[in-house]
Amino acid sequence: MTASVQVQNVSFAYHRGQPVLKDISFAVAAGRFLAIVGPNGAGKSTLINLIAASLAPQSGTISIDGINARSWGATELARKIAVVRQGFVPAFGFSVAETVLMARTVYYGPLGFESKIDRQCVAEALEMTTTTEFASRPLASLSGGERQRVFIARALAQDTPILLMDEPTTFLDLKHQVGVYDLLKTIQVNKLRTIIAITQDVNLAAQYCDEAILLRPLSRPLVSTKGNDADADRCQYRIGPACEVLAAAHIEETFGVSGFSGRIGKEQFFIPLGRMAKDAIRAADR
């Protein structure tokens, strides 16, 4: 079960305001892992919501396996795409198992109960995300990292070829950040899922993702550190293999920061350096 996503000439603005996305086109092949990276306000969440069909583009089309997703109803769409939004604690004390089971609601029988298959899906999703041991605990009693794994389990239980993630590692400590990416990579490889994830972590994105798209806000002119190339000036985004797109020069011009960068073995890294950082002050003194 795999599916590809095509975004063609998509433009979007909220309520006749400033456009947020302009003429975006890219494709994610089935079973690939794409990172969406960019500054706050660049339209990353908007792009995810467009792909999830929570929003409709003003122009352009978004297709799943070549079929325009706008022609589908909510139920059909839910068989193709699962979304993990930024984690939160709900108003009522649902347990982990109850939370994951919600993903199966549309498959319930006439009396409002899940089938054996639904329970199987839930059990597998809990197993895969190693959350089985918390199954009966209330969601509120889990740590941020554990909770994020539960939300991923819920998306897995929905049993869709495509997973969309909105900043899956926000508020997580280093170990859990790596843990979430390891889990996503395992899902991609073992379950052949197509994954599209918004992230602020350029280093983890470069390590784990196949492709990356670097978005910049339309409202803000490009901050150039090393002279613009004409292409980047016209276009709101850059897409390609993660390592190339997330090269230090591109990050610096898109985010308007400078910093250290380098490569250790196969992995590249970028560390931003602010004006008041110890090392920056020392350099200025010299």
Binding site: A74, T75, V83, V106
Partner: protein, 344 residues
């Protein structure tokens, strides 16, 4: 691992058990009262039916209708409370939060002060005005809420609060110009007041409320996901807006029925769903039927206390629900929160 999840068999066993307890409670409460009556003597009257049997008369024509009325109203308010707490994703919500109480109150006050004397299908103008006021206000609040946006619960809540405040002010104005007798009737209505009703009215009310609770049960799986997060529910393929609208209409309807039968009985719709949730968890497939039964039980007991405790006078039942319900709920809250923290 998934054994902790609710199964249809467990649900059925619990619902039947709760229903049996409800019937026993209703019977015991029907036997309690200022006149001592014995069930044995009363039942003898059914078979013989020859001369007048006061025990039979009291039980069947006074006590039983009133106990049934309390059960209907309690079940309706608790079910509507569950649904509105889920829809608004707010544990503080109750059936009256979206202006229904003040709308019904305004209708009832107008009818009492207007001093109408006609009846419609055996219902007094007070009940009919209250029903119309309730439905009209809910429609108004929902309309205002829609303007502020689809998932914007805050807009809906604010509209409810403002409409409530506005109509309450009008009620206060009407009360301040009302005469003594009308004043007493209005105050009793606003505090929730049970009276003996015809069996026909009871059957219609019971039918409406039962239909409402059953429809809400079939929305319960979707309400689970919506009470968690409507946006997530939508990406899981649930028709969120349709479910929200249906659940809202049904809860407004059963609340309006309850209010037109008994006035504004407070506390049941807020506290019963919470108490049941604390003990059995938030799964609406269970929360909804069990809350309805417990709501019925709670109001039957509260109404019995209301008519017994200061006999031969009677208290408005709303006074009793708050006085018994408040401490009972606090005890439950403290006990179960401690239990949860032990588990952690």
């Amino acid at each position: 691992m998934v054994q902790q999840l609710l199964s249809p068999r467990i649900l059925l066993v619990r619902v039947v058990a709760a229903a049996v307890v409800l019937v026993v409670v209703m019977l015991l409460c029907a036997l309690a009262g200022t006149e001592n009556i014995s069930l044995k003597t009363a039942l003898a009257g059914v078979h013989e039916g020859s001369s007048t049997n006061p025990d039979y008369e009291i039980l069947v024509h006074i006590r039983v209708p009133r106990v049934i009325l309390a059960a209907i109203v309690g079940a309706a308010l608790a079910a509507a409370g569950v649904a509105l707490q889920a829809l608004l994703r707010n544990p503080l919500a109750d059936p009256y939060i979206l202006g229904i109480s003040s709308g019904a109150g305004l209708g009832a006050t107008l009818a009492i002060i207007g001093g109408f004397s006609w009846t419609l299908w055996g219902r007094s103008p007070v009940a009919i005005f209250a029903f119309a006021g309730a439905i009209g206000t809910v429609g108004l609040v929902w309309g205002i809420g829609r303007i502020t946006g689809k998932f914007h619960v805050t807009g809906l809540l604010l509209a409810g609060v403002v409409v409530n405040a506005f109509f309450s002010a009008i009620i206060m104005f009407l009360i301040s110009v009302a005469k003594g007798q009308q004043l007493h009737a209005t105050m009793f209505w606003l505090m929730g007041n049970m009276a003996e009703e015809d069996f026909l009215v009871l059957w219609i009310g019971a039918g409406c409320v039962a239909a409402g609770v059953v429809s809400l049960y079939f929305l319960a799986p979707q309400l689970n996901a919506i009470s968690f997060n409507p946006e997530d529910a939508k990406s899981m393929g649930i028709h969120v807006e349709r479910v929200q609208l249906l659940a809202f209409i049904v809860s407004a309807f059963v609340t309006a029925v309850a209010v037109s039968l008994s006035g504004l009985v407070g506390f049941v719709g807020l506290v019963v769903p919470h108490a049941v949730r604390l003990v059995l968890g938030p799964d609406h497939r269970q929360l909804l039927p069990i809350s309805s039964i417990c709501g019925a039980m709670f109001l039957v007991i509260a109404d019995t206390v209301a008519r017994v405790i200061v006999a031969p006078a009677q208290l408005p039942v709303g006074v009793v629900t708050a006085i018994i319900g408040g401490p009972f709920f606090l005890i439950l809250l403290i006990r179960y929160n401690r239990k949860v923290s032990w588990l952690r």
